[in-house]
Amino acid sequence: MIGRIGSRALETGKFISDWMEHRSGIVTMLEHFLYEPVPKRGAWIYTLGSAALFTITLQFLTGILLLFYYVPTTDHAWGSIYYIMNEAYFGTMIRGIHYWSANFLLVVIGLHMAQVFFSGGYKAPRELNWVVGVILLLLVIVLAFTGYLLRWDQDGFWASVVGIKIGSYSPFVGAQVTHFLLGGDVIGPATLSRFFAIHVWLLPAALAPFIGIHLYLLRRHGVFGSEFEYTNRLAKLHERQRLEEFERYEEDEGERYVGRRDRADRE
């Protein structure tokens, strides 16, 4: 009984994936995005990029949740966070994840950069991906900086005063940078609004496409070895899959095997 349900479910799953593959090529795409030949030795070190992506995803999710209660005005910001921390169900957990994964994110990015640097992963043709990665790093740093003020407590307030005043030492545009961040010439309600807009809308919106470019370039060149080696490995992988496919096709002859065969023909 259970065996029959199992095989039935398997069949249905296969049917759905074939159906999707035939219409959108999603299976091939996932295969391309998820299969990554890496050396067996030290394979775990290649997960640092995924770890960064995972923590960023956590930031997005918990950030969206925090927005359900947070009020970005000088007279309510602190109080709304107090509410999140003391009254809202699991508020401490949601905000704790946002806070700690933000801290871990910077650590993970540092390790990720070190791994790429020491393994020479920034060399041709991957220089552009290093540049995109540095842009991502800067965006994350500014996100961390602007998020600090939103608490509107003594800690975040004075840290932001220090940060904004560091900007005032910029050559030639010190005053303009400061007044842009302050939204005036003193720290006040406009400053909080600005930091909120930058933290919640501007930078996440800028971050997302750069993550996309980063991943696209990663998949274009691979993380390991030369381009030649990588394409060679991928070709071997596809060849093996094709042979397996062919064998299976011969086994249950007569059944229609639209999706996969279609893909094999196309290649």
């Binding site: 303009q176 939204g183 720290i187």
Partner: protein, 231 residues
């Protein structure tokens, strides 16, 4: 070489596209840029400020002892973003009954002689104050007081953290909690990272013996010219 443009483009078309692109680009970018950079335009180009330009009372000169600064808190009303305009438009509405202000701590001390080894000599506190303030002060007394008074901002000249007066073994100094800037009783830099001494307010002493301040600071008057900015 990768080639994007298949058809050759004439000079006329190129120039036309360039002009059209510039016009469309300007229409698309100028409004949002001006919208976001409004505060920069207002403060740095038009020279406006969010802070009220009035004089505010800090405290009485009587309260300031010799050889030790006295702190006064002053709230300067500000008009920034939604703070002021809403109240003007509808003073009776619930929307914003709060007055927005920047709260400044002002350290006031009498100018003190600094000996070559850095310790404090005689305080220049006017002698007529020893018997208390007899109102109204005459012009000479006001003159003397204004010349011997330090009216200092507590915002560190380094990165704006609030400095405090510490006294240890009879010697006092202003210390910054963030990066260890140290100033003496006159607000001059003793050690640490700040590029100059503490900022002084524009201040005046009136006949009633009170110190009045404006939200204005000396920008020069130190090792380099650096505005206090975030106060």
């Amino acid at each position: 070489m990768a080639e994007l443009q298949k058809d050759p483009i004439t000079r006329k078309d190129l120039l036309g596209l360039g002009v059209l692109g510039a016009v469309v680009g300007a229409i698309l970018t100028i409004p949002p840029a001006a919208f976001v950079l409004g505060p920069v335009i207002r403060t740095d180009v038009l020279g406006e400020t969010n802070v009220s330009n009035d004089w505010f009372r800090a405290g009485s000169i009587e309260e300031v002892p010799a050889k030790e600064p006295q702190v006064f808190e002053v709230e300067f009303p500000i008009d920034q973003a939604y703070a002021g305009d809403v109240q003007k438009a509808g003073p009776q509405t619930q929307r914003s009954q709060n007055e927005f202000a920047v709260k400044n701590a002002i350290w006031v001390s009498w100018k003190t002689e600094i000996l070559p080894d850095g310790s404090y000599g005689e305080s220049l506190r006017p002698a007529f104050l020893s018997g208390g303030v007899n109102e109204p002060l005459n012009q000479e007394q006001i003159q003397e007081v204004q010349e011997t008074l330090n009216v200092l901002s507590n915002s560190c000249a380094h990165l704006g953290c609030p400095v405090r007066w510490f006294e240890a073994e009879g010697v006092g100094e202003f210390r910054c909690p963030c990066h260890g800037g140290i100033y003496n009783i006159n607000g001059s830099l003793v050690s640490g990272p700040p590029p100059r001494g503490m900022y002084s307010y524009t201040s005046e002493v009136r006949e009633d013996g009170n110190i009045y301040v404006k939200h204005e600071f000396d920008v020069g008057g130190g090792l380099n010219e650096q505005a206090p900015f975030v106060i």
